[in-house]
């Protein structure tokens, strides 16, 4: 929309980002150059938001980047702000990470180019929550409201923070932008590896890294692996056999119906019960719902309830068919992708661990159910969301159970 130097600055940056094929690292993988151009095409002064909310329990990279590589993140935010002639940069940090917030705050203060005339950079704390990192929920939280998604359109790039065009991107995305702007981008990304490996943690990978290579960098596995979770709690399960040969490249994985999400690889140990793990995470994810949309509130609750039935003692048959049909039923029915993520997480697990689910369907609780706590489900401070929380809908007990369920 603006000619001259700003257009050139943006053009240079987006060309470089396109050549390097930089994509969003928050999970969606949207091409960053396209996003920048979309913001630029809008009227109004843009705002830059660095999304370091990191509500995904299995991910640690954003926290690390704020403390260990704060300067590259700030380089990226500044490059984007200059290219878009933005007048504000907001770094949104989860309230459960005060040390990281303080660290990036100090880094901001140490950089006069971030607080020059015409640009204001602040670090703001947002409530913890899985959905808090969703773009529109984050904007709502930064405006002082509840961290709940809003209806799109309008999308943040058109009308976001304070009604202005807003660029919301993940911490690592800005780190990549920063490195591209300085010419030091080498195509590496951070993956959080956890579960049955000797050295869980952050590992730098390229698009050529294979699962085998990754596990080697993590010090090798500690016991036999039942399954691999890629992409976190809104991600996809796969078998070790299928994963072993794969390159950890998002495009390659998507062709197989898999995703790395925010760069997460979790190895489920053989000693765990996959059914109990999936049931516990599904229950946790259902409580992480913003509580605005009926299909999410009721659907995820129903799915979690059905999964829980598989982990109680007793020999009565419980069908998994209902779980699959409810997972299908909640897709694309919410204001955000939360129900879709849980649906993906659950249905891929049903496929990968078909034998274990079948066993639980017939016999209920197994002897590994109780001790299986491999996947973290952190307790959040209890939240009450008031009148916007849904109370209508048909309760589970009134839904006609399919013949084979219960």
């Amino acid at each position: 929309m603006v000619s001259g130097p700003r257009r050139d600055r943006l053009g240079q940056l987006t060309d470089a980002l396109e050549r390097a094929d930089v994509r969003g690292r928050g999970g969606a993988g949207f091409p960053t150059a396209t996003k920048l151009r979309a913001v630029e095409a809008q009227r109004g002064t843009p705002t830059i938001i660095v999304n370091a909310a990191e509500g995904e329990p299995l991910s640690q990279k954003d926290r690390y980047l704020l403390t260990g590589r704060g300067d590259t993140v700030l380089d990226g935010a500044l490059a984007a702000a200059n290219a878009l002639s933005a007048d504000e940069i907001v770094i949104a940090v989860d309230q459960g990470s005060p040390a990281e917030a303080a660290a990036i705050g100090r880094a901001v203060q140490a950089r006069p180019d971030l607080t020059r005339r015409g640009l204001r950079t602040t670090v703001q704390v947002v409530p913890s929550g899985y959905v808090t990192g969703q773009e529109t929920a984050l904007i709502a939280a930064l405006a002082g409201g509840e961290p709940k998604p809003t209806q799109t359109p309008p999308y943040p790039f058109e009308r976001g923070r304070r009604g202005r065009p807003t660029l919301v991107s993940n911490t690592e995305t800005y780190s990549h932008i920063g490195r591209v702007a300085r010419g030091t981008y080498d195509g590496t990304r951070l993956l959080t590896v956890s579960g049955a490996v000797e050295q869980p943690g952050l590992i730098e990978t390229t698009s050529d890294t294979t699962m085998a290579g990754l596990l080697q960098s993590a010090g090798g596995i500690t016991e036999s692996i039942q399954g691999v979770l890629l992409g976190g709690y809104a991600g996809t399960w796969t078998t070790m056999a299928d994963a072993a040969a794969l390159k950890l490249d998002e495009q390659v994985l998507r062709e197989r119906g898999l995703t790395l999400g925010a760069g997460i690889v979790f190895l489920l140990a053989g000693s765990c019960c996959p059914v109990a793990e999936v049931a516990r995470v599904a229950k946790w994810m259902s409580t992480e719902s913003a509580g605005q949309c009926g299909p999410c509130v009721h659907g995820l609750g129903a799915i979690a309830g059905a999964l829980e039935q598989l982990t109680v003692p007793g020999d009565g048959f419980r069908s998994c068919v209902q779980i699959r049909s409810w997972s299908e039923m909640v897709k694309k029915r919410g204001a955000c992708a939360h129900p879709d993520g849980v649906a993906r997480f659950v249905t891929t697990a049903l496929t990968v661990f078909a034998a274990e689910f079948d066993d639980h369907a017939h016999h209920g609780r197994c002897d590994r159910c109780a001790d299986s706590t491999a996947l973290p489900t952190p307790r959040r401070r209890r939240r009450t969301y008031g009148s916007n929380t849904l109370r209508y809908g048909i309760p589970l007990s009134q839904i006609e159970p399919q013949a084979a369920w219960r």
Binding site: T287, G291, G301, R383, Y385, Y392, P395
Partner: protein, 178 residues
Amino acid sequence: MIQWYVIRASGVVALGLLTVTVVLGLLNRSRVTSDRWPRFVIDRLHRNASLLAIAFLCVHIVTAITDTWVSVRLVDVFIPFRGTYRPLWVGLGATAVDLLAAVIVTSLVRVRLGVKTWRGVHWLAYLAWPVAVAHGLGIGTDSGQIWMLGIEVICIGSVLAALAVRLAAPVRLAGQAW
């Protein structure tokens, strides 16, 4: 003399239709539904009853203003308690007219208003109805008659019954603990 009867009759019919409107509105809010009475039917009947009530109300007002025996001016229809003829009871009628006008007009243009505004004004209906009933009881020259009392009892009774349904209607909880 006929005009006098028309004023009273149209007033009673308007009140009856307003009662039907309020009852249907309460049932709608309570999400009462059946195969023969789906939600959209109750919703439409509520709307149509209210418009019919307004039609009879207009007859009631016009005949009251043009009647030579009582001096109710046009302005007294909308500004309450200022007239010379029984200002209190006519005033209550005027209050009801004002409230109903707000409810009806906002409902006709509700798509432009947004839910909160529309709903906020619509709550005035809960005030308009008892004010209309009071107007009828106080001003009505038939108030002492048995049949009139019967009509009042039926009207008040049905609204109270519908209110009970509304308050007792279970909010269908999801079973979630928030």
